[in-house]
């Protein structure tokens, strides 16, 4: 187990586990909640098949402490750069070619919710609570929440959710397509971990990587380009499979 900035990392079987360890609310110390170079090192093990992100104790994360953020204004580094580093961390997670699951219990606010939204699958407990409270302080989510939230929920629901700053429960979050699974409080970690293992266990990495890349393309390319790439990846895998079946596998 490694720990940096109150974030810990361990690998269990072939799943990497990132835990936010700043209890009770697991506030994020800074927008770049884990240094990007550290995250890149952690996620570069080539046998990893999935990543789970969770919070220590009762909560996922209360996000950033806004007082801290306001204090950073006037620091040497412009705030836009500080936020940019945080966004780069989330982009790295979202663009990984293995699945990332957020296992959410208790509160999942602000930057915490933005981490969850950058994950590919969100599992939450029945007692989970979600909010973008930034608006109450006269600011808005700054780590991509204003982009990733509407991408999941559609604009009308995202506008209401972000503009109101209101807290919603697990059922409402499910209804809004903000989360993908609701499980009982005791089962969030087990369910998320087992789900990831079941998804990836029997699949070779090239297949997992191709699926993740196709999903990334679906987010970022035109339909034509995304489909063209999907066919190319299919063709690559088919070529390897054909050779394998022929018994003339690549050297």
């Amino acid at each position: 187990m490694e720990t940096i900035n109150k974030i810990s990392w361990e690998i269990r079987n072939d799943i990497g586990i990132i835990t936010l360890v700043n209890p009770p609310e697991n506030y994020l110390v800074q927008p770049e909640f884990v240094p990007i170079e550290t995250l890149k090192k952690w996620t570069s093990y080539d046998y990893l098949k999935g990543i789970m992100i969770c919070g220590a104790g009762k909560h996922f994360s209360g996000g950033g402490k806004l007082e801290n953020l306001f204090k950073m204004i006037g620091d040497k580094e412009p705030i836009s750069e500080t936020m940019g580093k945080g966004k780069a961390v989330l982009e790295h997670l979202e663009n990984l070619d293995i699945p990332v699951v957020a296992a959410i219990q208790g509160i999942c606010f602000g930057g915490g919710l933005e981490i969850a939204l950058a994950s590919h699958i969100r599992v939450c407990s029945e007692n989970a609570l979600f909010a973008f409270p930034e608006i109450n302080q006269g600011i808005i989510p700054g780590l991509g929440g204003t982009v990733r939230c509407p991408a999941k929920t559609g604009f009308p629901k995202a506008i209401k959710f972000i503009m109101s700053g209101d807290m919603i429960n697990a059922e409402d979050a499910m209804e809004m397509r903000l989360v993908d699974f609701i499980v009982s409080k005791q089962k969030v970690f087990d369910f998320s971990f087992t789900f990831l293992q079941k998804l990836t266990r029997d699949r070779p990495l090239p297949v997992i990587n191709a699926v993740m890349k196709a999903l990334k393309n679906a987010r970022s390319l035109s339909p034509e380009e995304a489909m063209k790439e999907e066919t190319r990846m299919f063709c690559e895998l088919a070529l390897a499979e054909a050779k394998r079946r022929n018994g003339s596998s690549e050297s």
């Binding site: 999903l215 995304a226 066919t231 088919a238």
Partner: protein
């Protein structure tokens, strides 16, 4: 009226509504020949003024079990250009034409309705996903099994499923590769309406007759609400 000229597809038109049946019994496997004919059928329909709607279904008990994988692999091995390390350089045209056919189908200005009985697997589900509307019998079985033989869907199925059902569901269905029921498909928004098996074709044609009057793809949600809720 039957429109002759195809061996793997039955094409008819009646009062402006086309009926395209996949016809390679018993499970309507999408053979190489089928994909070639499908592409020319789409050309034919798009050049004709007669078609005001198109219902796609399978001849007999099934929609389709998807591509003929062993033959497809053999063709890919023979026709794919590779570099000196055996790595892919150019995707063969016959493969690219298949995803282009689905894009073309989706871009049609007439409503395309898939009516699904029995199995609808792999590329067949991709075909259904690129239709504007999808109805199924209660016994229909769906799946993208490609990952279970070390492949992935390759005609835009991952892309389209992510658009329709969300990223998490697409990820789960594609990596698991297991089949799912009509009720699940409805829950995932893959299916717009489940109908009793015997009522499937009449429902599809009645629906086609209604929506072809003023079809616009942006109004998809409104039609479904109006006719199926």
């Amino acid at each position: 009226m039957n429109i002759p000229g195809y061996s793997t597809i039955l094409l008819q038109i009646d009062e402006g509504i086309g009926r395209l049946e996949l016809n390679t019994p018993p499970s309507n496997t999408m053979t190489m020949k089928f994909f070639t004919e499908f592409s020319s059928v789409l050309e034919f329909i798009s050049n004709s003024q007669e078609f005001k709607a198109l219902v796609i279904t399978g001849h007999g008990r099934h929609y389709s079990s998807g591509a003929d994988v062993p033959v497809l692999l053999k063709e890919i091995l023979e026709k794919t250009k590779t570099d000196e390390h055996g790595r892919l350089t150019v995707v063969p045209d016959f493969l690219s034409n298949n995803y282009r056919s689905l894009l073309m189908l989706e871009s049609f200005s007439i409503p395309i309705i898939s009516a699904i009985r029995g199995v609808c697997l792999g590329s067949a589900l991709e075909l259904a996903l690129f239709s504007h509307f999808r109805l199924c019998g209660e016994d229909a079985v769906f799946g993208l099994p490609e990952a279970s033989f070390n492949l992935v869907p390759g005609l835009g199925g991952i892309y389209k499923l992510a658009c329709i059902s969300g990223e998490a569901l697409a990820l789960e269905r594609v990596l698991k590769g297991s089949t799912f029921t009509a009720e699940d498909a409805l829950k995932y928004k893959i299916i717009d309406k489940i109908v009793p098996k015997k009522a499937l074709m009449p429902t599809a044609f009645n629906f086609a007759r209604e929506v072809m009057q003023d079809f616009r793809v942006e109004k998809r949600g409104l039609y479904i609400k109006k006719y199926f809720s």
